[in-house]
Subunit: 390 residues, 3 copies
């Protein structure tokens, strides 16, 4: 479709929504009503159209965006950098090691100290169950207080760049790819998505991607099937929430312990490794206790446990089980590709290669999703502001 | 007061001053005449008003600001990042480890090599007595030469982000907080400020904060009382300068070795740890000699020495000694708060908490003080330029 | 000459050229036809004039420039930062350690993941013979694919910030200094340039500077004499290419193994250390094999070998051999200066000091050369765009 025409359609759809985003943070998709989610995604697609039309969409004359990465990142780091640059902000990373934070200052203090001219704070904190989201709330509350007490002239929006519970910039990108691939949100109703654990020679991968996916796709009437070997559980509340969402949307949510069962007749497969919740919790304890030997033992134990499930690989045989043998393959990247990034991993080289382009497009939504989250929080009337950029 | 009205008053006060700032660096407050200091502070307050009114104050279309941090920093790092962004510059940090500087090139060379399109260089170098200020002068002279010899098309302004002698962006922020709290500069005359050493479980904190405070507040006719346990001396020249300033301004300057005496009837208290000058000098020697054992010994010795003065804590009892028991508490942050960031430290948790907001506002002046220093150095007529932004 | 007048002359010269730069990368000078090289240099000089006239030359409203430094850098790092800032881009550095690249993802993937809103990627990868240029081609091909496949809405231009083969931003800066010094490109015809190895107490310096110099200056009809102690060979293809270029341009290219012979009657001298190609190749093997002992041995062996050639120093005596005893001294900086950055090195302190300013001016072209490479690749009609900035 012609980009200008597509943009026009997106804006007309945006017109009918009543989102609740102005002045709000984006921390968890399940806290947002569906109009809000749709609105953020429509803004994201609109900004992508503006970019393709080479039309700038700066909403700030100046101001800082600050990122706090408590875990490694390439995609999200550059997506955030791109998004805030396009909106007119300068980027500063808070490196907690370089700073004086070691001195023992409080989160409340740091949050205010970095925010005097700051419009956005993006945070990745995904390694420790029970911590990442809590930390984001602490920062959010601190700047709310600072703004109310006139320490800050503006309240920075907080954007979740992956926490222990959710990875909303990823799951919304995943969903936008599905919308693009199948044509519309309506087309997703009844489609089967297999969110499946897959083998990886590494360990300790966060739970937020599968949790984010099952807690978002169930809201669209999809048939979401979560698959994992016994003991690779996700957080219980994400499971019960997925059930509720499925019920409300007229979709379904099921759990199986067999990759083949999950892949059978699937329209979309998302094979991705994660660590069992119990392991993540144990690991957090050991890390805090600086128990190096315990950590080594845990890693050995987990890698051995992982290795028992090497058959959980998205092979060509596995793909043949899906609808017409050509389900869409999704991944948050980087994937552990057998014969490419490891001897054996989450996905066969030939499968990944066939869907490589699709995964790149999936990732390509992320800068615009992040920009849209900021846009929705900072602009009183997104629709008319976007129209002004055309 | 209404922000627009406040701005108007600030600008009318600015009109009467004859500062000498254009094309100059800001390295030490005591090198600047009083009109210049006042002018920089009035510009800082004006820029803060513009920010609150959501009026941008970019003075550059493009250009770099470079920061050189030879010691950790959060507040100053982000204040500098915010300030230069608001003025329209891009920020690059010179990381002396990542660069080729290890090869042994001279300061003169590096200073020119990073300055071809650079408008500002901000430097923190506060750890070694006799070095930080000297280094800043070297950089300043290098770019003066480079500009004179047409290597550089513009001469970058040098901003002191804390040296061994002074911490001007901090002390001017401290002073702006006092002006705001007591209502005017005139109101500060005769007010007693206790700049007091306080116990900290860490060691090696620089001297520049207390030195900066006693060499600035004495210029406003304040009764400045410096308190510290025997042997925690500051640099002698900062002591004699404080005496002279006090005499000239009609205030006073005294030294006591008892925190209680300092706090008695004080209007402002600034309890803050620092290392004895002699220790800092010894430490510098050992660091240069890479004498690891000597450094460990010195640290042990100093921590033990510090621990003899645990009663130098800003407790509720101590605060009751001040005027009406409610002197203003100032601190450059982060403070060592008993029961929060350490078991016992500079200030009791309850005292800090009562003044927390004030310390945040104190810190909140810093981005605007830095911006004002650059503004004053780079803009020929600050008054009319600010008026143009309204 | 008056800057405005100089700019006018540059633009009139630019008018007559038919460069082939739009949409192209700048990786190796010898891949570019002479009109293209001249065009990039004229644009560089024009942008420098604009900067001196305080006229901004932003060609982007927003967008990222990404730098990938696989080796240390000060000059080039800040030149790149300055250039992209002046053109209107935000800078993000890809730190391969901080990112998730350790996970084993492919260059193709990373290149696309960082490029969704990226206009330029600058790369330094100079340590391993056979690798740096290859890596740049991989990145270039990846983003070409991504653009063709509509993963990217724009194709980022790739700029070589030093590879194993060439250092084009350096050699073009060297050449611009020669043009400025001798008055015109025509004036360089017949001038003798001695590109000579020189002693350094360090080891492992890349070959790209001498290779870049002999493969560029031979295209201007210069008499290029390459001098080095036996065994300090450059890559064979760079030697044969230099011969061909010299033949085509009516200049000459010779190799000698005696610094004095090279300096005799030279108009320009470029004394600079490098490691023998064979050593660089051996070092690469050992690094890949993580053979720490082998690396230590190689370093010892090479430093000993280097030390046999301490007489390869650009001393006052050596300079007296040059034309009128006052050849122009060039260097990419930082130089190993005897008595300054090392006990004995590439150049005597008194010689360096006499030419210090010239080397700074030489380096001063680099930000504009980088900006010109981007400008030439991204702007359809550089001439009229520059005229629009005046």
């Amino acid at each position: 479709m012609d980009t200008a025409l597509k943009l026009k359609k997106l804006l007309s759809e945006l017109e009918s929504l009543k989102p609740d985003t102005f002045g709000k943070d984006f921390l968890l998709t399940w806290e947002q009503d569906f109009d809000t989610l749709k609105s953020v995604m429509l803004i994201a697609e609109s900004l992508q159209c503006l970019h393709r039309l080479r039309k700038p969409f700066k909403i700030f004359d100046s101001g800082l965006a600050i990122s706090i990465f408590r875990d490694n990142s390439t995609r999200t780091r550059f997506s955030f950098a791109s998004a805030v640059n396009a909106l007119g902000l300068g980027l500063s990373e808070l490196d907690e090691i370089k700073s004086q934070i070691a001195h023992g200052e409080t989160v409340r203090e740091t949050a205010n100290m970095i925010s005097f001219l700051t419009e956005v704070i993006g945070i990745r904190d995904d390694m420790y169950p029970g911590e990442g989201h809590t930390y984001m709330l602490e920062v959010a509350n601190a700047v709310t207080d600072g703004y109310r007490e006139a320490v800050l002239a503006q309240r920075p929006a907080i954007v979740n760049l992956q926490c222990d519970l959710d990875h909303p910039t990823q799951s919304l990108s995943d969903l936008l790819k599905l919308k693009d691939y199948f044509g519309s949100w309506e087309a997703l109703k009844g489609k089967k998505l297999a969110m499946s654990w897959a083998y990886s020679p590494s360990y300790g991968k966060p739970l937020s991607v599968p949790q984010g996916v099952i807690n978002l796709m169930t809201r669209l009437g999809m048939e979401v099937c979560l698959a994992y070997p016994d003991s690779y559980d996700l957080l219980p509340e994400t499971i019960s929430r997925a059930k509720t969402f499925a019920q409300e949307s007229g979709g379904s949510f099921s759990i199986v312990h067999d990759m083949k069962e999950a892949f059978a007749m699937a329209d979309v497969v998302y094979p991705k490794s994660w660590a069992p919740m119990a392991v993540m919790q144990e690991r957090t304890k050991l890390l805090k206790a600086k128990n190096t030997i315990g950590l080594k033992d845990l890693e050995q134990h987990c890698l051995a446990e992982n290795a028992r499930h090497k058959d959980w690989e998205c092979t060509e045989d596995m793909m043949r089980l899906t609808r017409n043998g050509n389900a869409l393959y999704e991944h948050c990247l980087p994937a552990d590709i057998s014969g490419v990034s490891c001897a054996q991993g989450e996905v066969a080289g030939s499968v990944f290669d066939r869907y490589r382009l699709h995964t790149y497009q999936e990732a390509g939504f992320k800068p615009f999703v992040i920009a849209a989250m900021i846009f929705a929080s900072k602009v009183q009337n997104p629709l008319s502001t976007i129209k002004g950029f055309i």
